[in-house]
């Protein structure tokens, strides 16, 4: 059966190309990545649904541009390393079909 499957996994970055953002030039989230070194589970890496947090060696790399403003990272961060605000002036994600 599985060999008949015609559809392929979509890379997250391609999936995100379907969304519309008006990216705020000023980041609405800042991460004190110095605190991430001591973090055992680094839950942000797996739980941010749009992959704003990626692991590079032992370091957490962060980018806010693809954020959908769910707030999960802030809630799951055990190190209180994340300063989280909503983007201002109508910037950020603009959902159309959700």
């Amino acid at each position: 059966m599985s060999e008949q499957v015609k559809i392929k996994k979509i890379r997250l970055e391609d999936m995100l190309n379907n969304n519309v953002w008006d990216v705020d030039p000023r980041p609405h989230i800042t991460v004190d990545t110095g605190k991430c070194k001591d973090c055992e589970y680094k839950p942000c890496i797996r739980l941010c649904p749009v992959g704003c947090y990626v692991l590079h060696g032992d370091d957490v790399l962060f980018s806010y541009e693809g954020c959908v403003e769910c707030g999960t990272c802030r809630v799951v961060c055990p190190e209180e390393a994340i300063t989280w605000e909503y983007p201002r002036s109508g910037r950020g994600i603009h959902f159309r079909f959700s």
Partner: protein, 422 residues
């Protein structure tokens, strides 16, 4: 802009617009503040809304952007790419599918038509509190005054938190919902799910798609698209989830059970939102303060029974009750006077439901529901139906599937737990 309003509503979602609409109808001078470019731009939900409470909050619901009326309900347990499904094919028109982005716009338009003022692209930072009274809101350097504020800011309640009225959210109090909206033709939606033009399907599933973690999946049929998503309880996922959540939802779309629906589908959107999970823990100490009423997700008003999620209708209804309490307060917005709202909530179906089902959240602590039982169910079906020569007795199929997976006393205890709490 006028300097002082009767009411400021934070957030033009279902709760905020419901409060604003009903207050504007009652003659109040209402300002709604929305952070998105337009109402709905930041809204996301699973996919289904129950009609009756929304109809109570808004007139002319028949003119709302309704996609399909849910007539089919499916509940599946999934293990090893096989599913055991219960299907109810009814004729009810009790709930409908839609895009919350559109429904929120419609609700905000209703509030504006009734006379409420709406400002968009403005983030409320905190409540303006003076001498123990909420006097308005603060946004950047600006202060706006009102006799009473309705906080309908949603689950990510930064305003209440910064104002010191609630604690920061903890992982065990919330779940993450995320979904792919997949474009199909209207004909394909009808054909794939056995529906007529305005009929819809609500399908929830639990088991391997969450890697055995508490949570589940959903599929809702829209007019010419499907919303396919997952809900993951963050308390467990923080330490135990071993892969990226996006891989979980992609696995659902690509699975043997679901991929056949999506061979010609095109992605329209990928979205995510937090969902209230532990309702008791999320309820603020008080739902009212001097000059403040809390409605919608911000108050933790959402019911999740595993087979039914109710957030939008609860939000709209609590917004309606907030408007009712404020209208009846005759200008006295003290905590004592507004505490009528808490009574309205507790006496309403919202409060009653949340009380009646207050044990359901504990069921989610029982990991067997997400791992062992789906496995047992599928193994039993295999023994019953995948026959070659000899046929299988039901009791043998059951006992052989159960052995080594879950003890009989544990199983009876779990059944009793589910029976008692649901």
């Amino acid at each position: 802009m006028q300097h002082k309003f009767d009411v400021i509503v934070i957030g033009a979602g279902p709760a905020g617009s419901s409060a604003a609409y009903n207050l504007a109808k009652a003659g109040f001078n209402v300002l709604v503040i929305e952070r998105g470019r337009k109402p709905g731009a930041k809204s996301m939900f699973g996919g289904r809304v129950y009609k009756a409470p929304v109809e109570k909050a808004f007139d002319d619901l028949d003119k709302a952007p309704i996609h399909r009326w849910v007539v089919k309900e499916r509940i599946s347990m999934v293990y090893d790419e096989e599913a055991l499904t219960i299907e109810y094919d009814g004729r009810g028109r009790h709930s409908f599918t839609t895009y919350l982005t559109d429904l929120s716009s419609w609700m905000a338009d209703k509030a504006v038509s009734a006379g409420a003022k709406l400002v968009t692209e403005v983030v409320v930072d905190k409540l303006l509190i003076e001498d123990g009274w909420v006097k308005g809101i603060v946004s950047g350097d600006e202060k706006l005054y009102a006799d009473v504020v309705v906080d309908a800011e949603g689950i990510n309640r930064l305003v209440l938190e910064r104002s010191g009225l609630v604690e920061k959210l903890r992982p065990e109090h919330v779940a993450l919902g995320f979904k792919e909206v997949l474009k199909l033709s209207k004909e394909d939606v009808n054909k794939f799910f056995g529906l007529d033009d305005d009929e819809g399907l609500a399908w929830v599933f639990m088991g391997e798609y969450t890697d055995g973690l508490p949570g589940g999946g959903f599929l809702y049929t829209n007019k010419d698209s499907v919303s396919l998503g997952l809900v993951i309880y963050l308390g467990h996922a923080v330490k135990e989830l071993e892969r990226h959540v996006y891989d979980l939802i992609e696995r659902v779309r690509l699975s043997r059970i679901f991929n056949k629906y999506f061979r010609d589908a095109r992605v329209m959107e990928y979205s995510a939102h937090m969902i209230p999970a532990d309702i008791k823990a999320l309820r603020p100490k008080r739902l009212v303060y001097n000059g403040l009423v809390i409605a919608g997700d911000a108050g933790g008003f959402l019911l999740n029974l595993g087979y039914t999620y109710r957030g939008v209708d609860f939000a709209a209804y609590t917004g309606y009750l907030a408007a009712k309490a404020i209208s009846e307060a005759s200008g006295d917005y003290s905590l004592e006077s507004l505490s009528k709202y808490e009574r309205y909530i507790d006496e309403s179906f919202v409060g009653q439901d949340l009380k009646r089902f207050s044990g359901v959240h504990d069921l989610y602590e029982n990991r067997r529901l997400f791992k062992e039982y789906p496995m047992l169910a599928i193994n039993m079906m295999r023994r019953l139906f995948n026959l070659e020569y000899e046929s299988t007795r039901f009791k043998d199929a059951f006992n052989e599937s159960r052995k080594g997976v879950v003890g009989l006393t544990t199983l009876l205890k779990d059944l009793w737990g589910v029976y008692r709490k649901l």
